[in-house]
Symmetry: D2
Subunit: 380 residues, 4 copies
Amino acid sequence: MSAASANTSTSGATATAAVMPGPGAPGESGRPCELREIPLPDLEPDSALLKVELSEVCGTDVHLRDGRLAGVPYPIIPGHVSVGLLDKIRGTITDVYGQPLREGDRVTFLDVHKTCNRCWYCLVAKASTRCPQRKVYGITYGLDDGLTGGWADYVYLKPGVRCIRMDGVPSETFMAGGCSLPTAMHAVERGDVTFGDTVLVLGAGPIGLSAVAFSTLRGAAKVLCIGAPSDRLACARAMGADDALDFTTMPESERRDWVRDLTGGRGADVTIECTGVPEAVTQAMRFTRDAGRVVVVGQYTDHGETSFNPHRDLNKKHLDVRGCWGSDYSHFHRSIEMLRTERAAALWSNIKPRRYPLAEVNDALAAVAAGEVVKALIVP
Amino acid sequence: MSAASANTSTSGATATAAVMPGPGAPGESGRPCELREIPLPDLEPDSALLKVELSEVCGTDVHLRDGRLAGVPYPIIPGHVSVGLLDKIRGTITDVYGQPLREGDRVTFLDVHKTCNRCWYCLVAKASTRCPQRKVYGITYGLDDGLTGGWADYVYLKPGVRCIRMDGVPSETFMAGGCSLPTAMHAVERGDVTFGDTVLVLGAGPIGLSAVAFSTLRGAAKVLCIGAPSDRLACARAMGADDALDFTTMPESERRDWVRDLTGGRGADVTIECTGVPEAVTQAMRFTRDAGRVVVVGQYTDHGETSFNPHRDLNKKHLDVRGCWGSDYSHFHRSIEMLRTERAAALWSNIKPRRYPLAEVNDALAAVAAGEVVKALIVP
Amino acid sequence: MSAASANTSTSGATATAAVMPGPGAPGESGRPCELREIPLPDLEPDSALLKVELSEVCGTDVHLRDGRLAGVPYPIIPGHVSVGLLDKIRGTITDVYGQPLREGDRVTFLDVHKTCNRCWYCLVAKASTRCPQRKVYGITYGLDDGLTGGWADYVYLKPGVRCIRMDGVPSETFMAGGCSLPTAMHAVERGDVTFGDTVLVLGAGPIGLSAVAFSTLRGAAKVLCIGAPSDRLACARAMGADDALDFTTMPESERRDWVRDLTGGRGADVTIECTGVPEAVTQAMRFTRDAGRVVVVGQYTDHGETSFNPHRDLNKKHLDVRGCWGSDYSHFHRSIEMLRTERAAALWSNIKPRRYPLAEVNDALAAVAAGEVVKALIVP
Amino acid sequence: MSAASANTSTSGATATAAVMPGPGAPGESGRPCELREIPLPDLEPDSALLKVELSEVCGTDVHLRDGRLAGVPYPIIPGHVSVGLLDKIRGTITDVYGQPLREGDRVTFLDVHKTCNRCWYCLVAKASTRCPQRKVYGITYGLDDGLTGGWADYVYLKPGVRCIRMDGVPSETFMAGGCSLPTAMHAVERGDVTFGDTVLVLGAGPIGLSAVAFSTLRGAAKVLCIGAPSDRLACARAMGADDALDFTTMPESERRDWVRDLTGGRGADVTIECTGVPEAVTQAMRFTRDAGRVVVVGQYTDHGETSFNPHRDLNKKHLDVRGCWGSDYSHFHRSIEMLRTERAAALWSNIKPRRYPLAEVNDALAAVAAGEVVKALIVP
């Protein structure tokens, strides 16, 4: 589709966007993002223009830069979770309560768009995250689709995009969690965390940290975290982890002993893998008690195979191992409902994002890739 | 424990039992079973003596012979599922309805004994199959525990053994399923088979065949089976499989295509792995649709590791992979309730067990090991 | 909306429809339906015209006639479940597999339309049957919406209507179940029927009969039915009921004894209420065992209050009582998947519908209201 | 059984116990409790004597006094949840981890004893709270069974009683919750409280207050409470209720409006009824949103019938109404695990129990009956 067909405004007004031109050669980091002026769209009926206040840089954006995701229509404007002000509305946009949104409202929007509600996955399997029509702002929408990422001063909210008013939720508190909020909530729910459980979180990136917090809020009696480096582990403790271990300091067998020592020799009731390392999936199985649950939410890109022993690690353990892909509107909505409570807001306020102007998105990407910051925010 | 402490009768009467003396050298099949005369026990209060009518030879017995299971107190009397007549009762034995059993009643009994109902696994995790006190007739009870296996003309039903009256269920129909009944019912329940589902069963041994039948009874719209050899596949079809594939005739990629062709390109909704081959677990993941369920019930012994891709095979697929270990009284009881119905009895009557006298247990073991018979029964 | 705005064809061609003009005075049966010629619509993009082969008359239609449902936009064309041939398609209509439907295809369609996938009930509660935008052909669509009921030789399938190809399912077998199929499947699923359960169905109308059949297909070991008259009970037996009781022959206390006698004194594991009588809900609670489940699917119209004892009938029994309203595409789709199997088709073929031409819809309504027929079909 | 057969010690030592001699005449409060000297038992193998530190007076004790419970073997020693020191152990008593308890350990014990793990309810339905063998200290054990209630300076822990060490949990914090802890945890779990839910608790007695706190800990975004009087509502707010309403100040219709105003017009997602008033069950249904859940845990005694409209209150609402009877070891164990966390301990520390010496149990009962205290504790 040409940019023109993507509904370009005839007014001549433009937005400034950071455009990711394409992935690098295999094994290299990608080409740097560059600022471009993109014509503002003529609004279709029941669409809107969002003036971006904050957008995020997450691990997925690093994968996008490095060409580790399939099906990305480069060039793209990254930035899938953002918050901002409704600048201009054409027609009517309502929230899920049927209330019309107004220009000037501070909102966020679900990055997932076009889940079809017509296909077998949507209607029979009720697994909308596997709907083939699903599009994601900043990831599977590209520049040809218009202003479809948050690393820009404006985002075009196409008809059907789902907005949520942010009354009572500070933008920075929300963006400190960002896309990790619905992802981690989904993972904790897939883990069937029960009152009194010990939850082990593998990984201390944004998803791991949010998984720690949601496990605490769900009624776990003990939350453990294995990750690195030490400042992230300190953050994990502040967000509810009762104990945290730097995995770089000891081999797998000692880590297993550490978990067992803290769980009466049994292993965790629920382990949530948020690492990105294939071997961590097998470790998660081994760190979990018999008849427990493992949620795998850290394998969003292909890092190759790993091996395990189906008898010892799975069948004899009577284990549940649950992949957790994406999230739907419900997770997004309920994450924000949780942030409206003081006790949840206090947890995420422990994450201190670093802010970058739009012109420094490449630095932001580098800082996230290097693990220098837990969360980088773009301030267009 | 000495045989004496195992409650030997002072009467001098004996039972004839086939005793498995111990496992063979690694990689070899074990030493042959031998007939021995075992003194009948003096009955403890609320115990009984069962006159065995039929006992079974299953794959686990082959594993026992070959030393592939841990924690087996050789020498043992194999035979964990049996049916017979209550020969002598001391005190009172009741069924779960509180009805006293009578001498002369035809019964079977749950091979699992001593689940403690006192430990963390029993009481908090409610995962009694992981109770450390759990003992199994014919497997983890040995000769020192007395007449604790079905390959004998008498079995000693210790206090607390749970018996079920077999009224309305022919002994051979029940024994045709034998231990595969509760195991496969448990697996099908773990698979959350839903009306309209396509269930794929990997393996056409007794557990696979029973999984086919229970899937049919549970409301699957289509049941597929991949196994061998052809007579077992014919049996699978008779027990409810809509289609069956001999895996020896084509490589894995073609088998996957076969499944996809029969499932609109998606893969099975539920796959139940009953093969004993580690690689089959990864295949099960690949043969299953996104957001589907895989039940692993075929990895009862350690055949080593296998590899998979956590991104492609698990996380992106949003898959549930569920190990399924053992079964409890509920599965055993409800299996027999099902066999009291005509439609279920008709399914299992398709399995034609071959009968062996006690003196030929080694032949029976060899026939089962070679896959020559679906089910071998011992007639003491 | 005027008929004109409902997209009237400019061709001058018409369909013959049986129109229900409005409800009668309170306590009376409504005014008779009358045949009218309705202009065929100009097809909107991605819509179609269905040539009706069979439509049904169900209990809801009697309630419609008698004004017992709220929010009905009389005059209406009743007939919510129908089967027919796609006569004319404008644009593209696909099934859930994304396959385009062709003119000439034999199909049915989900009567529920316009579930919005945008509101709190659709997206957060995931309870689409409570979506406020939901419209139902033949019930909450009226004549002003066009040809929106099956008692006509043509039905207008508006854009977004969901069609299913009927290959392999005879029209009459499907229509013998009709709207009771998804309703009863939903109820049986809400009942969490487990292998070995005894299911008690109260009521022997179409929903009750389909609940009997689905309970059988779901793995119940015993299905009981209390209803009337005797020919329906005979049908219940043919569809899988192990025993059936004519409730007109004995008082409630004796019916309870009958259930208890057949359930070891405990009551049914699951009771599915399909009667339309408020008192039956309390009876369902009393006929069910402690810690069992009651599904209430028979209270689709307001017949007033009933009383129960919250201590004895609910709290002390640790009972689950589950209302079951409507169904969604999944139930409809999977019902038809089930009918593609021989064992399910055989069950519903026991219902022998009586056929009526369009001109005799009032007779059909009278026969259904009087319980003279289990199922009446309209043949336009 | 005579007191002698209940294992009376031959030493001549006695315990002082408050004995409830029997219920009053219908409609009257019962006869006063009286102090008696009860011989200490000779300990059976694997039993123990507990020196009571604190025992509780709960609403059930008032019902016991007033003869509102069936099957109570008066005279009895009330006091079902207690904490104390293990004074004397004969043989071995272990906790669920298999660790032996020592004389001097501070423990509590599960009041439920003798759940049989042999009957249909225990083994097939897995509903141990409906096991017919179940006995409860202080309620269905009577004086003939020995020192079987906490209103005494010693309690006899029969073989099989399940003890939990209280390390890290102050006795008063635990006893402030007392029996309401496992009861309310069970109710909140039955309610399937989800992240973001609004939970409405009806009743502000001990169970209601604990339900408020557990809802908060489970991830509810908003917790509402309707009860009385104002000091209990203040306690509810301190324990996590976002808003609380005194039901004595407004009629039912206004209360419903209050709930709807706070829930976007829909009603609560989950309502937990903890009132003891039959009408409250119907109100709970009406105060809950469509497709929501109602848990009925306040109807522990028979206060008669109430009426509801099965169409409007249940079926059309697609509601789940779940009775919740008793609790099992798992709820008890996990309640205490939760109290080991700071955030849970802080919640229950808001309840300020009033202490009474053993000689004043009748005053304590009167204060609880009159609602003067939230929780009364007996200090023997």
